[in-house]
Assembly symmetry: C2
Homo-oligomer: 443 residues x 2
C-alpha cells in the first residue's frame, strides 16, 4: 500500500483529537520506565536519609492555596468546579507546589508529628503556565523538607543539600555544582546601606544578573538612584563566589557591621563547612548571585547547576524559610527544604541525550507457548520465574510462531519457546534477544 | 496547665481552617508508610506479570472525558478553570477513571505500542461524589489492562483475574472469593426470550438483587410485565452459582439455543478452567448475580469479595470490553481489565482492623550525637549505614540527650548514641528501642 495512503487511512479512523493537552507529559512505556526508574532512585535516597513520605490532596481550598501565593502564581492556579455545582464544593483549586499543602499539613497534624519533621512529597503539581516547549502545566516535583517547632538547627540546611545532591547523582552523568548563598547577607547589606526601601528592586536585579549583560545590570542599578558607594559595594558583593574560606574572607572584608549580615556570613560558613566534611568540597561554591526569586526564603539559598550544560539551568534548588506556616497559625515552624522539578528535568535531559545510561527493558522474559496445549505449562513456568523476581509475560495469542517471537523481542530481553517437547521434558532454553545467545534455563 | 485551656490555646493559634477538604485522604506518616507499602506490593505483582506502567495526565479535554461518561459520572466530573482564563484553556476536566485516558492513549500512540498491550496505571482519579464516610472524591486506583488490536484471546481474561488476586493476596489476610460471570450469558438469554427491549431494566434488577430482599426483586420483575415463563427462566438463571462444572451444566440445562449465550457458557468455562489450572479452584465461583453496572463490559465480568467480611463489598473487579476506544477511532481495540480501588479499600480495611500485620517503622536507625563535636562523625556513620540500605536519621538539634532519645524512639526502631568515646574508638552500640536490647554495631 502506498505509504501516503496508509497515513491518510490511519488518520481517517480517528474520530476525535486524542493528543494530550499541551503542557502535560505523556510518555511511551519505554520512556515511562526510565522516568519511573529515576523517580524511584530519588525516592530511595530520600528514604535512606530518613525523610518520611506524605501525600497531600491534589485539590485544596483556594483560601488555603491563595494565602501564600501572590502575583504570577495566583494567576496560574487552576480552579476546580464540579459540573453539577453545589455550595459546599465551591472555592477549590489544584495545588501549585508542595510547600503550601505541607504548611497546612503541619498545622493540621502538629500534635501527631515529631519535630524536627523530616518529610518528603513526590507528586504532581499544577500551574496554568503559557504553553511552550519545556514548560509544563502538570509536573512532578520531588520535595524534601525538615520542619522544626520554634527552632531548627542550621546543621539541617547542609543535610537538605547533601541529600538532594546524592539523589541527583543517582541518574545525572555530568558533574554538578551547587551554588550557595544566604539571604541574610543581602538583607543585612541593604540594611547597613539604608537601602531597605529598595530591597525588592535590588533582589530582582541580582536575581536576573546572569540572564542579562553586565551593562544592563549596571544600568538597572543606576536607574534606581543609588549612590556611587552603594553601587560599588553591591558590585563587590555580587562578584563574590568560590571556595568557602576565600568567600568568607571577602564577605568579611566588606566591613559591614550589620548583625544580620554577620549571621549570614557565619551560617554560610557553617553550611559549607558541613558539606565539606561530608566530602562535597569540590561540588559546592559560594555565590552571591544566587537569590531565589520567591520571597519566602530567609536564610540559606542554593541552586544546583551542570557546569558543562549551563543552558539547562538549575536541576535542584531550595533554601531556608523562617516561618513555614505563618499564614495559617501563630505558632512558629521554621524549615529548610529542597526540590527536584522532575518533569522539566527529565525533558531537558532527554533533549540533551544525558539519560542514555539508564537502560530499562520493558519486561525481563517472554514465554512463548507454541500452541494452546502448552499454555497451562507456560503459565506455571511464568509463576516460578516471577517468584525469582523476574517480570514475565506469556503470549496467549493465537499467532504464527514468528509473529510471537517478533512481539517478544520488542518487549523483553529474553524469550523461552515452549513446544510439546519442552512441556513434557521441562528442558527449557532461554534466548537472549539482544545477543542471540541461548542457554539452558537454570544452568 | 489545664487540658481544656491547652485545647483552647492551641485552637486560638490557628488563623485558618486547615483540615483537608472532605472526600480526600490525608494520612499521618505512619499510616502513609503502610499505604505506600501496599501500593508498592500491588505495583510489584503487576510488574512481575509483565504489565508496563504508563501515566496519563490528570487533566484532559472534557470532550475526551465526556465521550464515554454518562449519567451520574458526567455530573461528578470536576471541571478545571484557570484563574486567569484564556480561550485555549477552556474545557478541561480531571479524569474520573483510568479507562478513558487509556483509550485515548491507545488511539494516540497505537503505532508505537506492541499488541497485546499489557499496561498498568496506578494513580489518583477524581469524582465529585456527595461527601460521606468512606466515599472519596480523590482516590487511588490500581488498574491493569490487556488491550489487543482487532482481537484478543479469551486466555487473557484469566490472566487479569489471576494477577489481581495475587496482588490482593500480598496484603489481605482474609480469604477471597472471586465471583465470575459473562455478560454474553444474560445478553443471549434476553435475546432468546425476546426481552432485548427490557434489557436495561433487567440488568439493573439483577445488579441490585443482593442489595434488596428476594421479594423486592420479584416485585421489580413483575413490574416490568414479564410472562411467567420469562420470570421462571430468569429466576433459574439468577440462582446459578458455584463450581465451574456444576454451573456450566446448569447453564446448559436451561436449553437456551442462542449463539451469544452458548459463547458465554464456553468463555466462562474457559476462564474458570484456566484459573483452576493456575491453582485458584478454591478461590473462584461462577455467579450469575455478577453483572457490573457499567454498560461497557461485554464478556467476562468479575468481582472479588471477602466471604468473612461481605459488608466490605468488592475489593477488586473488572471485565472484558469488546471495544475500548470506539468513541475515538474506527479501529477496534478489544480489552480486558481489572482494578483495585486502593483508597476506599485501605479505608475500610483500616476500619475493620485488617491491616495489622503490615508493620512499618518510619525509619530504621536514628543516630544521636551527644554534642556538636560528634556531628561530623555521626554523619559519616549514617552514610555507611545508608549504603547498606538502611534509612537513617541523624539528630542535629541542640537538645538534652534524654529528649533526643525520646524523639529517636518515636520515629525509629534502633538508635546509636555517639559521644566522645564512641567517636574516637568507633565502637558503636545499636539499641533496639522496642526490646531495649543492645548489641555491638556490625557484630
Amino acid at each position: 500500500m502506498d505509504p501516503e495512503f496508509i497515513f491518510w487511512y490511519n488518520c481517517s479512523m480517528k474520530k476525535m483529537n486524542t493528543t494530550p493537552i499541551s503542557g502535560t507529559q505523556e510518555l511511551l512505556p519505554e520512556k515511562q520506565a526510565i522516568f519511573d526508574e529515576i523517580k524511584s532512585r530519588i525516592r530511595e535516597v530520600y528514604r535512606k536519609h530518613g525523610f518520611q513520605n506524605i501525600e497531600t490532596p491534589t485539590i485544596d481550598r483556594t483560601e488555603v492555596l491563595f494565602a501564600k501565593a501572590g502575583g504570577d502564581t495566583e494567576k496560574q492556579i487552576y480552579r476546580v468546579v464540579k459540573t453539577a455545582e453545589t455550595d459546599q464544593d465551591a472555592d477549590q483549586a489544584l495545588r501549585f507546589d508542595h510547600t503550601v499543602p505541607l504548611a497546612r499539613y503541619v498545622v493540621e497534624h502538629e500534635s501527631n508529628l515529631h519535630f524536627p519533621f523530616k518529610v518528603t512529597q513526590i507528586g504532581r503539581n499544577f500551574r496554568g503556565e503559557r504553553a511552550q516547549k519545556g514548560r509544563f502545566r502538570e509536573f512532578y516535583q520531588c520535595d524534601i523538607d525538615i520542619v522544626g517547632r520554634n527552632n531548627l538547627s542550621i546543621a539541617y540546611d547542609a543535610e537538605i543539600i547533601a541529600t538532594l545532591h546524592e539523589a541527583l547523582s543517582t541518574f545525572l552523568k555530568p558533574s554538578m555544582l551547587i551554588r550557595i548563598s544566604n539571604r541574610k547577607l543581602l538583607t543585612g547589606l541593604l540594611k547597613s546601606q539604608n537601602l531597605e526601601s529598595k530591597s525588592k528592586e535590588i533582589f530582582s536585579i541580582i536575581d536576573h544578573a546572569e540572564k542579562v549583560s553586565p551593562e544592563k545590570t549596571q544600568q538597572s542599578l543606576n536607574e534606581i538612584n543609588l549612590t556611587e558607594s552603594q553601587i560599588d559595594i553591591l558590585n563587590k558583593f555580587m562578584a563574590i563566589r568560590g571556595e568557602r574560606e576565600e568567600a568568607v574572607t571577602k564577605l568579611k572584608s566588606l566591613n559591614i557591621e550589620d548583625e544580620t549580615y554577620l549571621q549570614g556570613v557565619s551560617e554560610l560558613n557553617q553550611v559549607m563547612n558541613s558539606l565539606e566534611s561530608q566530602g562535597l568540597k569540590s561540588k559546592i561554591s559560594a555565590d552571591m548571585l544566587i537569590v531565589r526569586g520567591l520571597d519566602y526564603y530567609t536564610g540559606t539559598v542554593f541552586e544546583t547547576f551542570l557546569p558543562e550544560y549551563r543552558e539547562i539551568g538549575s536541576v535542584g534548588s531550595g533554601g531556608r524559610y523562617e516561618n513555614l506556616a505563618g499564614h495559617y497559625t501563630d505558632q512558629n515552624f521554621p524549615g529548610v527544604g529542597g526540590s527536584i522539578g522532575l518533569t522539566r528535568l527529565f525533558y531537558v535531559l532527554s533533549e540533551h541525550d544525558l539519560l542514555s545510561d539508564i537502560k530499562h527493558n520493558l519486561i525481563d522474559i517472554t514465554i512463548i507457548p507454541i500452541s494452546e496445549n502448552e499454555q497451562a505449562y507456560a503459565l506455571k513456568v511464568a509463576n516460578e520465574l516471577r517468584a525469582k523476581n523476574n517480570s514475565v509475560d506469556v503470549i496467549l495469542t493465537d499467532k504464527k510462531l514468528s509473529d510471537k517471537l517478533t512481539h517478544a523481542a520488542k518487549i523483553s530481553k529474553y524469550g523461552i519457546v515452549i513446544g510439546e517437547d519442552e512441556a513434557s521434558t521441562g528442558n527449557l532454553t532461554l534466548k537472549n534477544f539482544e545477543t542471540g545467545e541461548q542457554s539452558k534455563l537454570g544452568a
